[in-house]
């Protein structure tokens, strides 16, 4: 009996790792590729190595794009200082980069959307985190991402390719510089 408990404990460790990895791996393989414009900030983490911290254009959503029920929920949540689960419905602009069409407090029935957490509401916009704000790189390469490569115009921006799977789970796949 004890032997079964021991193996169950070992398997539970592996199951946790699989449960963490599987939805992201599935999104990377089957999700819809979407480019999102961002700005890189300073890198470092002792356990996971070098990374850049990303602040997306879609991280600040105008209040006008929020649904009525979300606005009410934001008001009550703001008093309790809790983050609120939200869903950003995306649409592509003329350059193929995603913009927020609407921000909802309920999961949409279809279309392209990302799930996130509203972490704060200001007078004109809502701050949203999508769990895509870190981009890990091989050691030494994160610093390079903070600077625009030579030869690119000043308005060139870093864009992340995000694979969006079911339930609005997003996983970063790659990056590029806009031209």
């Amino acid at each position: 009996m004890r032997k079964w408990f021991q193996w169950a404990a070992v398997v539970s460790q592996l199951a946790v790792i699989a449960a963490m990895a599987w939805p992201r791996e599935w999104a990377l393989r089957t999700g819809q590729p979407t480019w999102i414009r961002t700005a890189p900030l300073d890198p470092r983490d002792p356990f996971r190595g070098d990374f850049v911290r990303l602040h997306y254009d879609i991280s600040e959503v105008p209040l006008g794009s929020c649904s009525e029920s979300l606005r009410k929920a934001l008001d009550s949540r703001a008093q309790r200082k809790e983050a609120l689960r939200v869903f950003a419905v995306l649409q592509m602009d003329e350059s193929g980069v995603a913009k927020v069409q609407a921000l909802l407090d309920r999961e949409p029935e279809g279309g392209l959307y990302l799930r996130g957490r509203a972490t704060g509401a200001w007078s004109e916009h809502v701050m949203v985190e999508y769990g895509l704000e870190t981009y890990f790189t091989e050691q030494g390469q994160a610093v390079a991402l903070e600077r625009r490569p030579e030869g690119l115009p000043e308005k060139a921006r870093l864009e992340m390719e995000v694979m969006i799977g079911s339930g609005g789970v997003g996983v970063i796949r790659s990056h590029r510089w806009s031209r």
Partner: protein, 440 residues
């Protein structure tokens, strides 16, 4: 100089040889042997050090190596390597334990490596999929995984890993996010307590004490109102109550001492800080509904108080209530209760003054009790504890009670005189106990 354990072992060997050569008979040898307790087998520190610490450092090294994040190695290959290594290490540890029961420490070390690799896998998943989740959760998951294996084997080394992971989880929640990980002390006490129960480990209670010593102050600082202060006081009482029970058992006497010291520092240290008016003013009572999560906080606080009360009731069965009272340990619990009652009624400066003066008077009473009792019974530890508490009370009264420099000076003179008197009384008491024939 040889230790008592070595001397007793030597004596037992000699007794056998004396019986063998007819110097004494077997009954005499057994009577002599019965006067000295059989030394308990010591922990195999060398194996624990090399296997346990080696596994921990090796695991940390693997985590740091994986942090390099080689892009040439495919994501799934990295995950496969770490997942496979985790499974292989656990399988090897279990097999080693099954085949060679004498090598349990080595087997534990190998299993611990498996759980270190489990931790490395958590960080690798976060790195490979660029996860930007709440990072303390990684330590919670790591601790839960280690607890599962630690309970299933059962394993002391996993208990230490658990204590480390849960402590980092709780401390990072309060330090980086201003949140209180209410579950951290409960998970620590629950999982490690169960492992202690199964393994009869003498080192794990010390791990619990160290973890709580780091966890509680950081968590209490993030609690609203007087909850943090009162939590520290009652947790201290809880630890002293548990230690009072544990010290009745020879095996856990060392760990009980560590718990008792930590409990005393938490409880008396917090009470002492509250005796300063500036700090006492911050002990504003927490009223249900005024603060976020106040219901949980209040439940948590009074749950701790109830646990402390239960621990004292349990402890009172063995050494007895009178013994606990005489040793002054019960007084620590009671002073905490009175201070809690006083903070509930803080409304203005006068109430704060009542709180600070009351605490100082109660601590002074405890210091005098410890000094008198220590001198009478010849217990140096108790006498020193009482003297240190008296000095602390003297310093606090210098700042808090007297405006006049003359009275402040007299307070210090009084403390100095009392300390000299205690030193003289203790020496005299010890001399009387040793007997005149042994005096030079």
């Amino acid at each position: 100089m040889a230790s008592i354990k070595d001397t007793v072992t030597w004596l037992r060997g000699e007794l056998e040889s004396w019986v063998a050569d007819g110097t004494i008979d077997r009954a005499t040898a057994e009577r002599i042997g019965a006067r000295y307790a059989t030394p308990t087998p010591s922990l195999p520190w060398n194996v624990l050090l090399f296997a346990g610490l080696g596994a921990a450092i090796l695991g940390c090294g693997i985590i740091l190596v994986m942090a390099y994040n080689w892009e040439a190695i495919p994501r799934l290959a990295k995950l496969g390597i770490l997942g496979g290594s985790t499974l292989a290490a656990h399988a090897a540890g279990l097999e080693l334990r099954r085949r060679s029961p004498r090598n349990t420490q080595l087997a534990e070390g190998v299993s611990l490596l498996g759980s270190m690799l489990f931790g490395a896998s958590i960080w690798l998943v976060a790195q490979a999929y660029h996860l930007d989740e709440h990072y303390p959760d990684a330590f919670l998951i790591w601790g839960l995984g280690a607890a599962a294996v630690g309970l299933a084997i059962p394993s002391v080394a996993h208990g230490w890993l658990c204590a480390t992971a849960f402590t980092i989880w709780g401390m990072s929640e309060s330090a980086d996010f201003g949140e209180v990980a209410y579950g951290a002390p409960l998970l620590l006490a629950g999982s490690l307590g169960a492992i202690v129960w199964m393994t009869r480990s003498r080192s794990l209670p010390i791990a619990i004490a160290l973890a709580l010593g780091l966890l509680l102050p950081s968590g209490a600082a993030a609690l609203p109102g007087n909850a943090g202060w009162m939590l520290m006081i009652h947790y201290g009482s809880l630890l002293i109550g548990i230690a009072s029970f544990m010290r009745q058992h020879e095996r856990w006497r060392g760990a009980a001492r560590a718990l008792s010291v930590l409990g005393g520092l938490l409880s008396l240290g917090t009470l002492y800080l509250l005796s300063f008016a500036d700090i006492g003013e911050e002990a504003i009572p927490l009223r249900c509904g005024q603060e976020p999560d106040s219901v949980i906080t209040i439940l948590y606080l009074y749950g701790t108080l109830a646990s402390a009360f239960a621990a004292w009731l349990f402890a009172a069965k063995r050494p007895g209530l009178r013994a606990l009272a005489l040793e002054g340990r019960l007084a620590v619990f009671l002073i905490g209760l009175v201070a809690h009652g006083l903070t509930v009624h803080i409304h203005d400066e006068r109430d704060v003054r009542i709180l600070t003066v009351s605490i100082l008077v109660m601590l002074l009473g405890l210091a005098i009790h410890w000094m008198l009792r220590g001198c009478r019974s010849g217990e140096a530890g108790m006498t020193i504890e009482g003297s240190l508490l008296l000095v602390a009370v003297g310093v606090a009264s210098f700042f808090e009670l007297f405006e006049s420099l003359v009275f402040r000076g007299l307070a210090f003179v009084s403390v100095g005189v009392v300390l000299f008197a205690v030193g003289w009384a203790f020496t005299r008491s010890t001399r009387e106990r040793v007997g005149p024939e042994l005096q030079p």
